[in-house]
Amino acid sequence: MERVLVGLKRVVDYNVRVRIRSDGSGVETDGVKMSINPFDEIALEEALRMKERGEANEVVVVSIGGSECQQQLRTGLAMGADRAILVETAESVNPLTGARIFLELIKREAAELVLLGKQAIDDDNNQTGQMLAALWGRPQATFASRIELNGSTAKVTREVDVGLETIEVDLPAVITTDLRLNEPRYVKLPDIMKAKKKPLDQIPVADLAVESAASITAVTFEPPEQRQKGIIVKDVAELVAALKDKGLV
């Protein structure tokens, strides 16, 4: 196929212990390490492998957000993507708006495959891929742990609650990636230099004329309650008594 689009979302690094801003307006991101959403990185790795196997000609990475997202796109380019597109917006983007933006890019780029992480580790929505497939009117294969391309179709093994499910979808399609699909490569230092010369297009979101989905307003953010100190019980009888005492059984 000619072109694969891969979404890269900028999120707080998975190693960072997340903190709420003191005014409760959101998660603290100032001075916090930001990275590519790990599931998106897996999606990019898969796209790069497709290219290396000769199954795709071009891998284009896409991010939606402020200019700071260039950092994640550059990392994607250093990993091996050919081009990057930053859809610039200062607003926070919900899954439906994100899906609409991707749909516009699919049209512009004539993409035949869109690879997205199954969800982003910041808001855990797990919606964008599904919504995009619906808007695009094309098949979706979510939670992929194995992808095999066979010309006009893709055989995808999905991780579902009961085990593994293998389905075959017609291309073009949207595939969202799960943790065990692959292990992303780390960036080689000379490739960081090469990435500087690769094209990174910035498109103001207004240029795509996408209707912004009615957005949900976050009222307040709170850290989870501190875990209470536990007690050690001697036997089952004492356990039952303790649970009854707390009104839990």
């Binding site: 950092q71 960036v187 230092l189 960081i192």
Partner: protein, 603 residues
């Protein structure tokens, strides 16, 4: 990093270094040495403020480099432990370092590297040192010193020929200065290169304790040219030249998996084009390489400290004794706070020095030495204290503390021992202070060249210096620091003047024998170390955006703690100049040298 060190010979060679004299005239900022300025009672504000920053683009690029280093090293903790025990890094790991591009860190892009600045390079070594010192050494001995001579002094043809292979790691580099009879005293080198009939050189001799000795293919070798008394010259020697022999791996206390070997040369023919820099300039080349490489080692020390802080604070919070976490105890808090202040201070000073190098300062050897002494000693304190916090666990091989402590022990020994560097710092500063007044330049030079002749003019010199000092007003840097730290800034203004006065006192009191007054020189060095590091800390917190965040408030607190403790240390050092037991201590040592044992017993 070769265990080669600058020597006493270096201090003796100070007078030879005519370049410093012209720089004393300070025609432009880049010729200034901020640390030497301190010996003259002057805080050169433009050298300390504003705290250096890198561009956003550089930050982003460096962030990607650090991410890759993390990814490559973070899952290898167990391997590092095993390789320490085995005393070797496996070839596939070194291949991994090559594949990642870690041998091309400072090599320009056009030669296949990534062309990091000194600041960026030092930061990368900090990152790798968070995981394992031996890894940093393999990378650092290559870049900081092994091939640095080629980068600084190589001809275009030499660079063309070697840099691409050095960048890819196809060739790994090593720096060969130290010999069995020539450790700190680099001037006593016996390896010799004689001109041969092919127009090239024939090299004979043996170098010891060569980091990367066993895995390198490219050696920067220092040898006397032509005669035993000839001057040093630097050469590029390839491993596969006939006559190059690599000795057995040394069995070491720490940094065990890094390769340390002897490298010997038996009638090795070196083509004329492999002379590095000018013939006879080898000593200067050797020192220039070490000076510019110091930020790698010091950056590594900072990385090690960050690991110690992370390990020890986690251990303290989790470990329960007497019914509460040991993190509740004052003596544990004290250790963690001291490690943190040390780390922040070392990080600030190293950053300042790497900025001088990147900005093209020509005279930064004293500053580089200060940052090396401070960072390496602070790292060993951190290793020792984090082990102490972990206590019994810390002593066990199952935990990383003992390895970190063994690994960090070398830091105050190689690339200049703490002792030699302190003498170098103090004597360089004093020489500079002496030449500040033009008309007395020759007289003060003579103190170093010909002390007896030179000393006659000193009383006049001293009188003028005091006038010079008192003419300098105070209140010069306090305007540049946050209001809450103004009292702390005053400490550095006051003690900078005190250092200059002390310099005068030392010269007046000891005159011709100043070079031998090592107790006094050490005190002067310790004062200037506190001043330079403290000013770097103040500058750094001055550049932070003031807000209510705890991170900012605690940074202010670090600056305050460092300043007040430095004040007490400096005060102690100054008082000890006037009243001390130096002569008694020397006499005692001489008595023991005579016995070579301890002669008392309580029985």
């Amino acid at each position: 990093m070769g265990v080669a060190t600058e020597g006493i010979s270096m201090t003796a060679n100070l007078a030879e270094d005519k370049q410093n004299e012209t720089s004393a005239e300070a025609e432009r900022d880049l010729d200034l040495s901020p640390a030497k300025g301190l010996f003259c009672g002057e805080i050169i504000q433009s050298c300390f403020w504003p705290f250096p920053e890198i561009t956003n683009e550089q930050k982003e690029m460096l962030g990607m480099v650090l991410d890759s280093v993390d990814r490559f090293l973070e899952d290898k903790q167990e391997n590092f432990r095993q390789w320490d025990e085995a005393g070797e890094q496996p070839e596939e790991f070194i291949q991994g370092l090559r594949d990642l591009g870690l041998f091309g860190l400072i090599i320009p892009e056009e030669h296949g590297g990534i062309g990091l600045s000194n600041t960026g390079y030092s930061r990368v070594l900090q990152q790798s040192s968070r995981y394992d010192s031996s890894v940093s050494l393999t990378i650092g001995a290559h870049s900081s010193i092994g091939m640095k001579g080629l980068l600084l002094f190589g001809t275009d043809a030499q660079k063309e020929r070697y840099l691409p292979r050095l960048a890819s790691g196809e060739m790994i580099a090593a720096y060969c200065l130290t010999e069995s009879g020539s450790g700190s005293d680099a001037a006593s080198i016996r390896t010799r290169a004689t001109r041969n009939s092919n127009g090239g050189w024939t090299l004979n001799g043996e170098k010891i304790w060569i980091t990367n000795g066993g895995i390198a293919d490219f050696y920067t070798v220092f040898a006397r040219t032509d005669s035993d008394a000839g001057k040093l010259s630097a050469f590029i020697v390839e491993r596969d030249s006939p006559g190059v022999n690599i000795g057995l791996k040394e069995d070491k206390l720490g940094i065990r998996s890094s390769s340390t070997t002897t490298v010997s040369f038996a009638d090795v023919e070196i083509p004329a084009e492999n002379l590095l820099g000018e013939e006879g300039k080898g000593f200067k080349i050797a020192m220039a390489i070490l000076n510019s490489g110091r930020t790698g080692l010091s950056g590594g020390a900072v990385g090690g400290m960050k690991t110690c802080i992370a390990l020890a604070s986690k251990q303290a919070v989790e470990r329960k004794q007497f019914g509460s976490s040991i993190a509740e105890f004052g003596l544990i808090k004290k250790k963690i706070a001291e490690m943190t202040v040390d780390c922040f201070a070392a990080e600030s000073a190293v950053r300042m020095v790497s900025h001088y190098i990147d900005s093209g300062y020509t005279d930064y050897s004293v500053e580089a030495a200060i940052s090396k002494v401070f960072a390496s000693e602070a790292m060993f304190r951190a290793a020792n204290e984090s082990l102490q916090i972990a206590a019994g666990n810390g002593f066990m091989k199952e935990f990383p503390y003992e390895r970190i402590m063994r690994d960090s022990r070398i830091l105050t020994i190689f690339e200049g021992t703490s002792e030699i560097l302190r003498l170098f710092i103090a004597l360089s500063g004093m020489k500079y202070a002496g030449v500040l007044l033009q008309e007395l330049k020759s007289a003060t030079d003579d103190i170093f060249n010909n002390p007896i002749k030179g000393f006659g003019l000193l009383s006049d010199y001293a009188g003028r210096r005091i006038t010079h000092l008192t003419s300098l007003g105070q209140d010069r840097i306090i305007a540049a620091v946050p209001e809450i730290l103004r009292d702390d800034a005053l400490v550095f203004e006051k003690y900078t003047l005190e250092l200059a006065r002390m310099t005068d006192v030392l010269l007046r009191r000891h005159g011709k024998s100043i070079i031998e007054k090592q107790f006094a020189l050490q005190r002067a060095a310790d004062v200037v170390i506190d001043l330079f590091v403290g000013l770097s800390v103040l500058s750094r917190v001055s550049a932070m955006t003031p807000d209510d965040s705890e991170q900012y408030q605690q940074a202010l607190s670090i600056a305050h703690i460092f300043s007040q403790r430095a004040k007490r240390r400096m005060n102690r050092n100054l008082r000890a100049m006037l009243r001390n037991e130096d002569e008694a201590a020397k006499s005692l040592a001489e008595y023991i040298f005579d016995k070579q044992s301890y002669p008392w017993d309580v029985l």
